[in-house]
Every structure is written in C-alpha cells, then in structure tokens.
Amino acid sequence: MRKQHIGLLYTLPQILWLLVFFAAPLCIIVIYSFLKKGLYGGVEPQFSLEAYTAMANPNIVLVTWRTLKISIIATTLTLLIALPCGYSIARSRNQAIRLFLVIVPFWTNFLIRIYAWIAIMGNEGFLNDILRALHLTTESIQFLYNQTAVILVLVYMYLPYAILPLFSTIDKFDFTLLDAARDLGATKFQSYIHVLLPNIKSGLVTAGLFTFVPIFGAYAVPLLIGGKDSYMLGNIIADQLTKTRNWPLASSISMTVTVLTTGLVFLIAMRKPREQKQVFDVDPAFLQATPDGER
C-alpha cells in the first residue's frame, strides 16, 4: 500500500505538468474549434461547425497539401543525411567530440540561425558575393524566398533531432553482424540494407517523427525564408489568430494538425510489439535469397 502511494507521489509532478500544460490547453483548443467566432476575435459561447466546414476552402486544402509535401520531402532528406552521420559517429573513436559538434548549433537561438541563412543566401549575401567574385555570375542568383530554400533550412534546423536518435540506436547495434553478413556472401551495400537497416528501424522511426512533427507545424522558417508560394499550415494558424480574428478556424486547423501527427505516432507505436519478438531483425526475403552463402 505504502509503496503505491510513493509511486503516485513520484509521478504527481509529471501528471500535473501534463494536465496543466498539455491536456488543458488541448481541451481549450478543442472547445474553441466548435464555437462561433467573435466579430473582433475570441469566441461566442454558441455551438458551431463553421470552423470545420471552412477548412474545405480550396485555399486551405492547397496549403495542407503543400505542408504535407514539404514535410515529407524535408523529413526524407533529413533522414538520408542523418543516417550516414549517425553511423559515422557511432563507429568513430571520438564520439564525444562529434556528438558535441552536433549539439553546438543549439546554443544559438534558432531565429538568429534563420537570419544567418538569409545573410548567406540573400541576393546580396555571402554566397552571391563568392559567385560574383569567381565570375560565375554577374547578376545575383535568387536562392531565398521559395519552397526549396524553406526545405533546405528546415533540413538544417531539424538535422540534429534526427542524428541523435539514429546515433543511439546504431551505437547499440552489434557490428559483428555486418561481418557475418559479409562472410555469408553479402556485398557491403547488401549488408547495410538487409542487416543494419532492419535493426535500427526504431531509431529511424523516432528520427522521422522528431523531424516530421515539428516540420509539419513550422511557422518561422516559411515566414522568413519562404516567399509568395511558401505559406504553410503554421502560418495560416497564426494569421487566423492574429490577423483575421478567426479563432475557431485557427483551433480547428490546429486540431487537424494534432490529430494527423498523433495519429501517425499511434500507428507506428501499435506496430512495434511484433518487431520486438525477434532478437535480430533480418529481412526474411534476404535469408532465402542467399542460402548457405552460395553467392
């Protein structure tokens, strides 16, 4: 009995924290999304589904699609870059220094880092200065204010969030398995794809979520780096709240973002228990394809 009480006492701060700073605000958003909008912002205490029907607006559908597209591209690129990074850190002898270098950018405020990108890629930025000095171009090339620039900076921003979980799973991986695969006749590439990747799946999933979820709600990067075609859902939410005074619509879009992203997390979490049954996860098709090291 007493032990149970102590357990509750220990978790109490965490429960309180989640209730006050997560559950309660989420409830407010849910409630607001079902109310009528006030003329000058705020809400009227009157049930309405208007905020949800307003989301069928082709403009919002377009932005949702664009946000999804940018998020998927940026997440994929981030993972593609983070994977070799995580691998090389895990295999390196000076892990501590390399990890430290991954974390260093966090010491600078992220807005300052965004402005740094503007200083680098702007029409009068360093990159254009260098190109002009090398006589590769006479006119400035416009790198900024388009979707490509937004994706580039998003990848930069969230790369550490992908490298760290990937590193920690790769670090636990038994590298002798790769040697075993090579002994059984796999090429280096095959051993990575069929032995390494299945075993670090959980790290890949975590890294993917850590990048996809915040990118899906990105606000500052599309605002400052983006141009006329880079509006994302995060910007619409902010605009509805601060400019067009439609709080219910801001809430209903936020709800959609939350439901979509938590749905994704749940889907992945549900799949997990099955994987854990196997000690080493090796692609079965691969085992069949190379019987007894014939090749």
Binding site: Y40, N59, G122, E124, I236, T242, T244, R245
Partner: protein
C-alpha cells in the same frame, strides 16, 4: 565531499535570500509603467527622460500589427497600462469595453494637439478614451542608386524590370488599401466588386513582381540591398538604413494616396497605474518631447502644433503628403470580405 555539499547548500541559500531581497525591494520602491507599443515607435531617450523625471521604471513591449496587439490583449494574461491602437482598433476596443476613460481636462498639453487631427477622431468622438499619438501613412522607399526613373505612384509595382526586387507589407488593410486607392476607391469600401478588383490588381499585376509580402524583415531586406523598392513605414526603413546612406533613399507617399493611420494612446481597463499612465500621455505631448520623438524617426509633427517649430531635423514626408490619404476605419463584419480576398493573395499558387 560532505564539506563541498554543505558549501553548495550555503551558497544556494545565500543566493535565494539575495533574490528575495531584490524582489521585495522592487515591489516597494519604484512603480512600473507597462507600455505595449509598435516596434520603432517611441525613442528610448524619451522613455528614459520619463523614467528619470518621475522616478519610475518603464517596461516597453512591442507588437507588429493592430491585430496582434488586440489578440494578445484579448487572450489576457498581460497587465499593460498603455497601448497605441490605430483608429479602427480604438473604436473596436471601446465597443469591447477594453478601455479606461481619459479625462482630457487633466492633460495640460492636450491643447497642443492640432484641432484638424482631433476632428478626424470620429472613431472616438470627443476623445473620451483616446489621445492622438501620431498621424501618418506607409509609403514607398526607393533605392536611388539602383532605380533612377520612376513615377511616384503605386504603379511602380507594375514594373516588370524590377521583378523580385520589390517588397510589400504582409498587412491586409494596408496593401488592399493601396490597391483600392490606386483604382480610385475608398480604402474603407465594403463593395464586393471594388474589393475583388483590388484583389485582382494585386494578385495578377503587383504580386508577380514582388519578392514577398513581409511585415517583419522588410526594412532589413531594403537596407541590405536585397530589395530596391519597399512599401512600408519610413521609420522602420530609416532605422535599418545606415545614416551615411540616407541620401540614397527616396521615401514618398504615392500621389494617389493610400490608407493613413491615426494611432492613439489609450489606457487599458484594469490598469494598476492609471495616474502614471495619464502622466505619460501628457508627457508625450510636451512640445519639446514630441519634437524629440518626431526628430528621432524623421516624422513630420502631424499631431502636435507647437512641436513643429521645435523640430530640428528633416522629415521623410510632409504633412501635406497625407492630403490624398484616407484614414482606415473599422469595417465591422465586412472585414470577412477583405479576409477572403487577402487569403487568396497570400496563400499563393
């Protein structure tokens, strides 16, 4: 080890006591005035003079648009004493019961305000809740080293040769108002056809030439040479451009006019320092102080008459330039029409 831990504990305790002492000292001695104002709108020197004269502290927080200010105040949680809404928002805030009445007879310097400006205060007849702070308008800044021949008109945004070197504010009423004025309509129109015409002009003719819509970093972009033509506020532009380069910048209010704004000082309901807030309002309209404020930003003294003679510096535009401009007013529920048009423009294809 034990020794070390003890020492740490002692140190921690000492730090705690110090913090408590400092905090309690704060509460008793100096009053604090909480000001919620536009970015670049009251010079630090004016704030410092006020602090010194009255022996108080001033906390100066900023916002970038009326809507942002309003939303933050509506959301609650902030204890501001004074804020600076534009006319349309003064009327909204009066309707919403967010403002404290101001007894203008208690203000020694109220008589310095131009009666012509007071006559424009139809958002608050008789100035029961608001005292005019500044009457101005956004205009267009041109980098003369890059652009030589141009018309001082909104039509500059039609020029394809300046494509991607021009920028406009991410501000619905401002940009829509510019287009409406250019087409010869009122900036406060609620006629759907006129709003649609303005939307099409911006979407099809202006937007393709714009680098982006930006209300946060437009002045930085202009100062760095990123853009050569920027629609925006003179004070923001000249705060970013280096003083030695000021002669290369031409700032004008286009000849067709545009939306003008009259920002007022209001005291928020529930203010804990009403008297001090009133003193601040009066302080601003001292001719010397008002001239200092105008000089700092290169403003013409549009509101305060005696300050006009005391001004030492030049102004980026003249009070007469505002003649063709029209004050933005609250359009009530018809704002939805503007919202829809602006969303179409902003979301982009």
């Amino acid at each position: 080890m034990v020794k070390l831990r003890k020492m740490m504990l002692n140190l921690f305790g000492l730090a705690l006591i110090c913090t408590l002492l400092v905090l309690s000292g704060c509460g008793e001695q100096t009053k604090t005035l909480y000001i919620f104002n536009w970015t670049y709108y009251t010079p630090d020197s004016v704030i410092q003079k006020f602090e010194q004269e009255y022996g108080v502290d001033v906390v100066y927080d900023t916002f970038a648009s009326n809507e942002e200010m309003f939303a933050k105040l509506k959301a609650g949680g902030a204890d501001y004493d004074i804020t600076f809404p534009s006319g349309d928002y003064v009327s909204i805030m009066i309707k919403e019961g967010m403002l404290e009445k101001i007894d203008t007879s208690k203000l020694k310097n109220f008589s310095n305000i131009d009666p012509a400006v007071l006559a424009q205060c139809d958002f608050d007849p008789g100035n029961q809740y608001s005292v005019p702070y500044y009457l101005g308008a956004a205009g267009v800044a041109v980098d003369k080293t890059k652009v030589q021949n141009y018309d001082r008109s909104w039509s500059i945004f039609e020029r394809k040769d300046l494509a991607n070197r021009m920028i406009m504010l991410d501000d619905m009423r401002e940009v829509m108002g510019d287009a409406l004025k250019y087409l010869g309509y009122s900036v406060n129109t609620v006629d759907q056809r006129e709003i649609d015409a303005a939307r099409d002009l911006i979407n099809n003719v202006w937007k393709p030439n714009l680098l982006k819509f930006d209300a946060e970093a437009f002045a930085k972009s202009f100062a760095s040479g990123e853009v050569w033509v920027a629609q925006g506020y003179a004070e923001s532009i000249f705060a970013e451009v280096d003083k030695s380069m000021w002669n290369t910048v031409d700032f004008f209010i286009p000849k067709e006019g545009g939306p003008s704004y009259l920002d007022s000082m209001v005291i928020l309901k529930g203010s804990k320092n009403k008297d001090l807030a009133l003193k601040f309002v009066d302080f601003i309209h001292r001719p010397g102080i008002y001239a200092e404020f105008c000089d700092y930003f290169g403003f013409p003294s549009t509101v305060n008459i005696p300050a006009r003679a005391l001004k030492k510096g030049e102004s980026w535009y003249r009070p007469e330039d505002l003649l063709h401009c029209e004050l933005k007013k609250d359009v009530g529920p018809d704002l939805e029409k503007y919202n829809a048009a602006w969303q179409e423009i902003r979301i982009g294809k």
